[in-house]
């Protein structure tokens, strides 16, 4: 007389095997969950701060340090000291959110704390207009703008005698007395007389799922199901073998 499926499955050996398979399946499910968590973790580099609410620059950044992802693109306020009169620099080959290439006037701001901060003051269609707008500002109270990382200067520009990047490191070399300095520069929010305000969009915060990790999570769930199926198959094998042996006898 051959045993039925459940008669075989109830044997201690196969109960133990079932527990083992369930354990493996639980392990696989845990790995799947871990992958799922990773798929979200990878998407968010850091807790995204509100980039549009203005905070004092001195409260989020230290001078002489590079711009971190948490500081990047944040709207900040700076207590102005003065713009150094002879230190205006024109940076060319800049578009202002459109396709037209123009020039940006950059000023050397010394904050009330005596720290240098490069400030992109405004945009003009050509370098002459930009340079003509240089002058003493009528700032009362803090200056607001977006804090952006220093741009890498290009060697081809250097060879051609042009300047198309707002590179803090380069500016500090041009300005006679510029230390300590903030590692990033400020895109001035208010309109500078004679110039157009600089196009300064809210930075992109990509929050996308990591599809690869999601696929792996699905794969682990399938593997977990497979572990249970394997147990079922092995028990069936025993049942079938015993049935065949019984038939031979």
């Amino acid at each position: 007389m051959a045993s039925g499926f459940w008669a075989v499955a109830r044997r201690p050996r196969w109960i133990a095997a079932l527990l083992l398979c369930l354990g493996i399946a639980a392990g696989f499910a845990a790995l799947g969950q871990w992958q799922l968590e990773r798929s979200v973790d990878n998407a968010q580099v850091a807790e995204a701060p509100d980039t549009e609410a203005a905070v004092p620059l001195s409260s989020i950044a230290d001078p002489q340090t590079a711009v971190t992802p948490a500081q990047l693109g944040r709207t900040v306020t700076v207590e102005p000291g003065e713009l150094v009169a002879g230190d205006f620099v024109v940076v060319t080959d800049r578009n202002n959110g459109g396709t037209e290439q123009g020039a940006v006037l950059v000023g050397h701001l010394v904050t009330a704390d005596g720290i240098t901060l490069a400030v992109a003051l405004g945009w003009a269609p050509d370098a002459e207009t930009a340079l003509a707008a240089a002058g003493t500002p009528s700032w009362a109270g803090p200056v607001t703008g977006r804090y952006l990382p220093s741009e890498p200067p290009s060697s081809s520009d250097f060879e051609a005698g042009r300047r198309s990047a707002i590179s803090v490191a380069e500016l500090i070399n041009i300005w006679p007395d510029a230390t300590p300095a903030y590692g990033g520069y400020l895109n001035l929010e208010s309109t500078w007389p004679g110039l157009e305000p600089i196009f300064s969009p809210e930075p992109d915060r990509e929050v996308s799922l990591n599809v690869l990790n999601v696929f792996y999570a699905i794969e682990w769930v399938i593997f977990a199901g497979f572990a249970i199926y394997l147990w079922y198959r092995l028990v069936r094998d025993v049942v079938e073998r015993e049935a065949e042996e019984a038939a031979v006898e």
């Binding site: 792996y216 794969e219 198959r233 092995l234 094998d237 073998r241």
Partner: protein, 135 residues
């Protein structure tokens, strides 16, 4: 003595065996590439970049790669090839009715370098033994 295989399964076994042999070679090849990539990534801290600014193939720290990260690609491709390999292993095990231990042993071919190349010629012999026993 394991139960005999079903005669109706024999043509199917031959088809799966063909797929298995191809997958054993391809998966084994990618496993060797995977070992190479692991040595570079964890030994020297660089990944392989395909078609980047430093030539067709270049070694770069992971963060600096602009073009195709061949190391990660190898990792992913090997993962999916191994799923195909395991699928073939499973089907062969079901139809030839050989032992569960042998199923696990063959499964190791996708993890232990070079082992799948051994299985590529050994598994057909095991299959032949079972088919001959049935005939």
């Amino acid at each position: 003595m394991p139960p005999a295989i079903r005669p109706a399964d024999v043509p199917r076994i031959r088809t799966v065996l063909k797929v298995y042999r191809v997958s054993a070679i391809v998966t084994g090849g990618f496993l060797l590439l995977l070992c190479l990539m692991m040595v570079f990534r964890y030994g020297f801290g660089v990944d392989i970049e395909l078609g980047g600014p430093f030539g067709f193939l270049a070694l770069q720290p992971k963060e600096l790669i602009e073009a195709v990260n061949l190391s990660t690609l190898i990792l992913i491709v090997h993962g999916w090839l191994y799923v195909v390999y395991l699928g073939c292993d499973f089907l062969l095990w079901r139809m030839t009715r050989w032992s569960f231990g042998r199923f696990l042993f063959i499964a190791l071919g996708g993890i232990v370098p070079l082992l799948s190349f051994f299985f590529e010629f050994r598994v057909p012999r095991w299959v032949r033994e079972r088919v001959e026993a049935a005939e």
